[in-house]
């Protein structure tokens, strides 16, 4: 059963439980039968051949029941065993496989469902194609998640490893579930006596490692001691020594733990995540983005569109189903073999390595080679007699009324715009060649608004307001935060200079001189190229990097400015201009600590004022101390414009704009032709909402340097902040015409366009079509 659907149903089921006195099973069946509580068994499937087949098959639930009763973790069982014993009528048995038992047994909590999704997602290779098939055709053509069963049967029945036979695994699985549940309840987990499980060293290590990591996720709000005691209780029950350090290979048996681990690490395996893992990861992302029913559809559609085997698969599977339908009437085994051979062939064409190794495929191949035969609805090994317990196992699995989950699915999805996603699915299937990255992008574009709205409404109505959604959200947040942390690491190392792709100045005999000349003439973007050529040629040329940084700053690109200045500082750590420029750029980026560090560095390395700075530590700087030192410096030499400039920047940092303005004005008296100083004054005035004054200052800067992109962009900002959007657009466009790489200006332009109700120009903005924009908004 596809875990997605399953979980969804579970959530609904929980709600229904509140209203109805029926036990969970009834509520579940409500979903299947369309809400007629306690409907007559079988009535929902009267016209369904597969269902009637299933009805015929459903007569041996008792075995499963017995096993369930043996399971540990009975603290939360409620009346589950009673309930099962009351379902003597096989047709009331609910769809799905053992997972249902587990859940009902354990009072499902969202967290364990979450985990289950990993496990079942991994096993049920065929489940989603089936779901699709259901929707597309009719419920009557029900195709069921045989694969999962096959897979498990094979797993259990191959009897290659005695340690693998069914029960211990199940015991372990449910035991792990009870551990997970205890975490949600926040209650201490008590050791339980378990039958001997025959775990290998590797298994034990795996469980130990994963459980302690999981526990830390679950109990993020609890103390370390509590976590340890939880884990110890778990490990003790499993007879795992918490200290021993077996270095055996990690077996892949404990799927739920492994998947959770992978997910929590945020590592979507690069290259080719195998289908099931892919689903799980995708599912996790999408479903966790607040239960949106469409999200996983997209993920599925793209995944399988890409693999392109769905359609063949479903055909073949129909044939497989027909095998099942002919219960009692022995299918001529040659025909069966022929069919399975076709199926095996089809499946073998899927080059996904995970799928290639799947037990289902092996199972089918064996059938096609006649090593296994289907006889009277029992799978038998042709070579060996005595199929043993796994055949019974299979029969049980098979009897779980496979059609009804499909009905549930149909019904549930109907309320969520089935039509639309079906259409989307078929559209998506036509794009078979898409690779993963593309479809991820695709997904991010798709109907985001729609469903955000929809979700918003649902939240508004409290539809998801229960603890279940909170848990989901929490789990998802965890995931996001981890991702964000990973991203932050890459962000901190982002001060990497990005060179232009094509550079005509590479090979130029003296690119530095050329760059200086271009800079002087105000051709900033050209100067950038020439200077890039210079620093490519002489990577240790501090002056080349410095001028490149200045050029980028004037070109309104602080990220690149910072990156270049960092290189300049590497080459020459004491260059005052570089330190000041870094201080300014970081101030612009609102990065206070970094800005303070460089401005303090300026003081430290200044010949005259260096003595003011106490030697040693510059790690823990306090703004007030630094400001005091600069004020002292300004008293020593009141005619040094540079000190006033740095002071002005510092006051910007502390948002004492009046003082900053005063400092810059003092500096301007000493350096009236410093255009960047005029811009600094203007920016400060603008930030303290003196927009009219700011525009005068910017104009001064532009008179001195007409191609000063930053000043043009600042003009735009000032107009926009005054609500003069039409004006601001003209200035942004002007700035962008000079430097189309000024990303800030592009996003501000977009905002101004919407605010000025010029949505007709948004497309030109998004496609960065400057010709159109310049024509529309001449300055």
């Amino acid at each position: 059963m596809p875990s997605y659907i399953y979980i969804y149903i579970k959530i609904k089921e929980k709600k229904k439980k509140k209203k109805k006195s029926c036990v969970g099973d009834m509520a579940m069946r409500d979903l299947v039968t369309g809400g007629a509580a306690c409907a007559v068994p079988g009535s929902s499937s009267s016209n369904n051949p597969v269902a009637s087949l299933a009805n015929n098959l459903l007569n041996s639930s008792s075995k499963t029941q017995d096993r369930i009763k043996e399971l540990p973790g009975t603290t939360v069982t409620g009346g589950a065993p009673d309930f099962y014993s009351s379902t003597a009528d096989p047709t009331t048995l609910l769809p799905g496989s053992e997972q249902d038992f587990y859940h009902d047994h354990h009072r499902p909590l969202p967290g364990s469902q979450f985990l289950d999704s990993f496990r079942s997602g991994d096993h049920h290779v065929g489940a989603l194609p089936d779901a699709w098939n259901e929707i597309q055709h009719h419920p009557e053509v029900a195709l069921q998640p045989h694969f999962a069963e096959f897979d498990r049967i094979y797993d259990n029945g191959a009897a290659i490893q005695p340690a693998f036979d069914g029960p211990p695994q199940r015991v372990l699985s449910s035991f792990l579930h009870s551990f997970v549940e205890s975490s949600h309840a926040g209650i201490p987990f008590h050791p339980t006596m378990l039958p001997a499980l025959g775990l290998s060293q590797g298994d034990k290590q795996c469980i130990r490692d994963r459980s302690s990591i999981m526990a830390r996720h679950f109990f993020a709000d609890k103390s370390e001691d509590f976590i340890n005691s939880q884990v110890n209780a778990l490990l003790h029950s499993l007879e795992i020594d918490n200290d021993f350090r077996a270095k055996g290979p990690v077996p892949g048996r404990f799927r739920e733990l492994e998947e959770y681990w992978n997910e929590s690490q945020g590592t979507l395996r690069p290259g080719g995540p195998h289908s099931a893992d892919g689903w799980v990861a995708e599912y996790n992302q999408h479903a966790a983005s607040r239960g949106n029913p469409e999200a996983w559809i997209h993920s599925f559609e793209q995944q399988h569109g890409a693999n392109g085997w769905v359609s063949e698969f479903e055909q073949e599977q129909m044939q497989m189903t027909s095998i099942g339908q002919m219960r009692g009437a022995n299918l001529p085994s040659s025909a069966a073999m022929e069919q399975t051979r076709m199926l095996a062939h089809t499946l073998a064409q899927n080059d996904d390595p995970k799928f290639q190794n799947s037990k289902f495929l092996q199972f089918v191949s064996k059938m096609s080679r006649g090593e296994l035969i289907v006889d009277d609805n029992q799978v038998k090994s042709a070579g060996e007699s005595a199929p043993g317990d796994w055949a019974q196992e299979y029969q049980q699995q098979y009897k779980e009324a496979p059609n009804s989950w499909a009905d549930q699915f149909v019904r549930d999805e109907l309320s969520h715009g089935t039509e639309r996603w079906v259409n989307e699915f078929s559209a998506g299937r036509e794009q078979h060649g898409m690779d993963d990255d593309q479809w991820v992008n695709e997904f991010s574009k798709l109907h985001v608004d729609d469903w955000v709205d929809e979700f918003g409404h649902q939240v508004g109505e409290g539809a998801f307001g229960e603890s279940s959604s909170d848990n989901w959200a929490t789990a998802y947040d965890e995931f996001l935060n981890e991702q964000a942390a990973a991203k932050q690491r890459s962000d901190s190392s982002r001060a990497v200079y990005v060179f232009s792709d094509v550079n005509p100045y590479v090979g130029h005999p003296n690119p530095l001189k050329e760059g200086q000349e271009l800079f002087r003439r105000g051709l900033l973007s050209e100067a950038v190229l020439a200077l890039e050529a210079e620093v490519l040629k002489n990577p240790d040329n501090s002056e080349g990097w410095r001028l490149l940084g200045i050029t980028h700053a004037e070109n309104d690109d602080d990220q690149q400015a910072i990156a270049s200045m960092m290189r300049a500082q590497e080459a020459d750590p004491t260059n005052l201009e570089v330190l000041l420029a870094l201080g300014v750029s970081h101030t612009n980026e609102l990065e206070q600590a970094a800005a303070l560090k460089y401005l303090y560095g300026w003081l430290q390395h200044h010949q005259k004022y260096g003595t003011l700075a106490p030697p040693g530590q510059s790690d823990s700087l306090y703004y007030a101390d630094v400001a005091r030192l600069f004020n002292e410096a300004a008293q020593i030499s009141p005619d040094d414009a540079d000190v006033h400039i740095v002071l002005g920047v510092l006051y910007n940092l502390s948002r004492e704009y009046d003082k900053a303005i005063a400092s810059f004005q003092t500096a301007l008296k000493l350096k009236p032709r410093d255009y960047s100083l005029w811009n600094k004054l203007g920016a400060t005035q603008a930030n303290s909402v003196q927009s009219a004054e700011a525009i005068v200052a910017y104009q001064q800067a532009l008179d001195l340097k007409p191609n000063y992109v930053r000043a043009w962009a600042n003009m735009g900002i000032s107009y926009a902040n005054q609500g003069l959007y039409e004006e601001s657009i003209r200035y942004y466009v002007r700035a962008l015409a000079m430097n189309p790489k000024a990303d800030n200006a592009w996003s501000y332009l977009r905002l101004s366009l919407s605010c000025a109700s010029r949505n007709d120009m948004l497309e030109a903005c998004d496609s960065r079509n400057l010709d159109v924009l310049q024509k529309e908004f001449p300055l």
């Binding site: 983005s289 985001v448 608004d449 955000v452 918003g456 409404h457 939240v459 508004g460 959200a473 998802y476 947040d477 996001l480 935060n481 964000a484 942390a485 932050q488 309104d556 602080d558 300014v584 101030t587 612009n588 609102l590 990065e591 206070q592 600590a593 703004y623 920047v649 910007n652 502390s654 948002r655 004492e656 960047s676 811009n679 600094k680 203007g682 920016a683 400060t684 603008a686 930030n687 303290s688 909402v689 927009s691 700011a694 930053r710 962009a713 600042n714 900002i717 000032s718 926009a720 902040n721 005054q722 609500g723 800030n744 996003s747 501000y748 977009r750 905002l751 919407s754 605010c755």
Partner: protein
């Protein structure tokens, strides 16, 4: 310092405070007479949050939670708040990604758009 916070968002909110005293800011209070509360975390939502109230009814920005019920409360990281306020990240996208959590009226939250914030000028 205007506010004793080292968050980037604090710098923007300080500007917002000034901005609300201008003509454009007053227009804003007429257009969106709502109270927003922002819980801004330096690194991770919910941890070491600093709380700011943007009261567009009165045209005030204050540090600390709103006394009463804000129309909408946003929880986000410093970094993401800056991205949203500067128009580099669509608030809906931030919400979808889980980068921004919202409590309160959703229709109020939808009026929270990047254009209500003044943009910082660069030196």
């Amino acid at each position: 310092m205007a506010t004793n916070s080292t968050l980037k968002s604090a710098a923007l909110l300080d500007q917002m405070k000034l901005h609300l005293s201008t003509e454009a800011g007053k227009q804003l209070t007429k257009k969106i007479p709502l109270v927003y509360q922002f819980n801004i975390a330096p690194k991770k939502i919910g941890i070491n949050e600093e709380i700011f109230t943007v009261d567009l009814k009165k045209g005030e920005v204050t540090q600390g939670p709103f006394e009463g019920k804000p129309d909408a409360t946003f929880s986000l990281k410093d970094e993401d708040f800056v991205k949203v306020a500067l128009g580099k990240m669509n608030p809906q996208f931030a919400f979808m990604r889980g980068a921004m959590k919202i409590k309160g009226s959703l229709s109020a939250a939808q009026k929270f758009t990047p254009d209500i914030f003044p943009k910082p000028s660069k030196m």
